[in-house]
Symmetry: C2
Subunit: 501 residues, 2 copies
């Protein structure tokens, strides 16, 4: 009975969140420009509605009762604990603060857009300062005596702590930074022309759909649409929306973007239907979510086996033969420092995350003032990636996250990379020659392994535990770094910093 009451109160909360997701999806994919003002108001109304239900005493009480009535270790117990986590996080934030944060990020998004357009951090600075101050206040409230920055990390990937991330990022930096320098000094320049040409939108869409379907994304329970900034969102495991964008002269952004979002989508479609609309019926965290997208995008999509399979759909989509796999492979595994995170290759991506993680830590420990961010950003890029942004637009203003108040989010990108590599290695150890399977178009064994090890558990276990159960060991950067070392050795003949070579 206690459990039933909890689920009864949770269902409409879930429905309203899902409703909000529909409005946001429409906003990014379909809405005409005129609709922006009304949409912003409707989203604010829905956010208020969701918040009111989340902090409602009746829900809190139902979750407490459900927890007390359930046997420890049972599904019912887990439902209650997960619900309590969300409820208590929300209840610790005073209504006044929640409102101020909503206003500040709403204003912040507007001034960030204007600032980025004019490459002028000063236009965004006052709003960012206000957002940081409010987020500190929120973090302190939520941390409830713990470390404020940990409370922020915990929002995106439950259980993540700054103290655990620091050594991970130290190892990544120690290995990747010297390697980038060595690659630069090697003088090797990858020929990317096999990835370039003239690829009409409709043909790229056809190829992306073929790849997405092949790996198992169910388009009767989802759809693919264009968006300026690709994303995946879900209204139900039976209704998952992925988006893409394309470049006419390079097939990579579209194909690997679609594989990435399809990976996210497979996770959402694999969540247990019997928990739909219940506390456990969601993804465990953003890090593990990113692991699913990265795994299909990189470990699968850039593999020789996948490329061998791709030759037939390529010919069908483009009406021309695919370039040779061995010619294509280096163009999919470059190691080339760049200024823009979302365009970074696998070998440099984590350093972009590292810069942001370090800056956030310094912001939230009080070591760094908001006004000093641009200089700190540019200095860090020069030090870590060897490149200095020429202006704020290609520097500190490039990401939307801080304008949204999403501090503690960036590390999930690297956690995703590490988890992807560790899960993929474990799957390979269990399933045998995956490359051969991919070449034969057999993606189901890997997908079902991920369903079994990750998707079907929803929020029953935390991401770290899912990875440890699946791979038999705690999360480390080993597999990820080994993968990167091997790539660079193959493409550039450079072995600096190879951990396992």
């Amino acid at each position: 009975m206690s459990q039933e009451r909890l689920l009864e109160l949770w269902r409409p909360l879930h429905d309203l969140r899902m409703t909000r997701a529909v409005l946001e999806w429409d906003q990014e994919t379909m809405m005409p420009p005129g609709g922006a003002a009304a949409r912003a108001r409707a989203l604010a109304t829905l956010a208020g509605e969701v918040h009111a239900r989340l902090v409602d005493d009746a829900l809190h009480e139902a979750a407490l009762r459900a927890r007390d009535a359930a046997e420890e270790g049972s599904v019912e117990h887990a439902q209650a604990l997960v619900a309590l986590r969300d409820v208590e996080r929300a209840r610790r934030v005073p209504a006044r603060l929640a409102r101020e944060l909503a206003e500040a990020t709403s204003a912040g998004l507007v001034s960030w857009q204007a600032a980025r357009k004019e490459s002028d951090f000063a236009r965004f600075a006052p709003d960012l300062e206000r957002i940081v101050r409010l987020k500190e206040e929120e973090a302190q409230a939520v941390a409830d005596g713990g470390r404020p920055y940990d409370a922020l990390l915990d929002e995106y990937e439950p259980g993540t702590r700054e103290a655990d991330l620091v050594p991970l990022f130290e190892r990544i930096r120690a290995e990747l930074s010297p390697r980038i320098r060595a690659v630069a000094e090697s003088g090797v320049v990858v020929d990317e022309s096999p990835a370039q040409g003239q690829f009409p939108e409709a043909h790229q869409r056809a190829l992306g759909l073929a790849a997405s379907r092949a790996i198992g994304f169910d388009h009767d329970a989802g759809r693919l649409d264009l968006a300026a900034h690709p994303f995946c969102t879900s209204f139900s495991p039976r209704d998952v929306r992925i988006t893409w964008r394309f470049q006419e002269d390079d097939f990579r952004p579209a194909l690997y973007g679609i594989l990435h979002e399809s990976g996210h989508g497979l996770y959402e479609q694999g969540l247990p239907l019997e928990w739909e609309g219940q506390p456990l019926g969601e993804a465990a965290g953003l890090g593990i979510h990113e692991s699913q997208s990265r795994l299909w995008e990189n470990a699968v999509g850039r593999s020789r086996g996948f490329l061998r399979w791709l030759a037939v759909p390529w010919r069908e989509a483009f009406g021309a033969p695919m370039p040779d796999v061995e010619e294509l492979w280096p163009a999919l595994h470059t190691c080339r420092p760049s200024l823009i995170r979302v365009e970074a290759d696998e070998s440099t991506y984590d350093l972009h995350v590292l810069v942001r993680f370090e800056l956030e830590r310094r912001l939230f420990s009080g070591e760094l003032a908001t006004a000093d961010l641009p200089a700190a950003w540019n200095g860090a890029y020069e030090e870590v990636l060897g490149l200095r942004p020429a202006n704020d637009a290609e520097g500190v203003l490039q990401d939307i996250h801080w304008a949204m108040g999403a501090f503690g989010y960036f590390p999930t990108y690297t956690l995703g990379n590490l988890m992807a590599a560790q899960l993929f290695a474990a799957a390979g150890a269990e399933l045998g020659d995956l490359e051969a399977a991919f070449a034969a178009g057999e993606f189901a064994p890997l997908r079902e392994w991920l369903r079994e090890k990750v998707h079907r558990h929803g929020r029953r276990w935390r991401s770290a535990e899912l990875v440890e159960r699946a791979s038999g060991r705690p999360l480390t950067p080993d597999d990820h770094l080994a993968r990167l070392a091997e790539q660079v050795e193959t493409v550039y003949g450079v072995t600096v910093g190879g951990a396992t070579g």
Copy 2:
């Protein structure tokens, strides 16, 4: 202050209704099949949320106070009266009845679909019986001592009464029925081949968009998508969604469907922005809404002037010359009895409405039992249109309305036809030679006239009053019947029943 409180409580109610409209639009245009179950739940949650806010005592009190504080005849007074109308209608329906109606129509939609598929009224009959019984109960509650069927009519077109409709429909029948017989006896068969051919989807879309843009539908404040059953919905005057469908071998369903929905869309885009999210900021009723769609579809879109203008966009869309206007015109003005309302031509359409109106009246006066509907339907079609449905699918099961509990809705289609003709005649009397304007692509004068006379008033005045103010006389079938008589005389050389000839 009283006014402010009312608007403050109305805004989130509006936002939630708009949110529901977004979910419904997505459901009809974008949603993959898998999403149906989750969507139904989310819509039910939203409906409950909207209802709870509508019947909330605080809103009722705010509306009463606002009314009492405002000067009679002022905008503030009108805002309060319109709000009170909606609030009191909703408050008269007991929560138990609202819930039962939601369940009954939800079950009814499912069994109606199955019944229609198998052409078996018996499968739908028990649900329909329950819906009718509950709607009677609702009508009695809402009528508050008045006539129950009037309470149903009033929901769709405020102020409409059965007693006023009866003579309208009697005149329509007296004129149209004999004319149909005379046309059949004339032996004239219209050559529809000029409207037929091979028209690829993309080309038809291009033509429809050109027409839609030309009459002034703003595609930066709206969009056009495919849907199985075309409709128009609005999330704001700056975000209006219209939909279309097409037939590869006949250009008429797509072009005239798009003109029809664009007409609805122009009304929505013309509603006053300063009243957005307020009680007055909506359309006055479904009859006047239909008048806007019919006016652009029929009075404009089928006119010789419009067809002259159409020749250039036609050539651009199809890459071939348009058939001669005089050859096309008869194919756009047929008078051919048929069994399916949504496929009916202008000269027979109102008789389909008449049959439904008569059956509804008899159902709600207790003269007709639900079980006897199929026989009554078939008899009425034979009598009025001279055709007898061969089965229930092409008879009593063809419309979704009753399964949704929408009794009292059908008459708005004919009210729309009458209003369209009377408004168009009044516009012509004021603006001069409209046909010449259309031929020159000048649609703005008519559109601005409708903005001024209809759109900009929102719900400030009832539809009947808008028409009377615009045309200088109460609504009559005169202009509509004159239009039909003239068409039939031109195409078939038949003059029977011409009221004004």
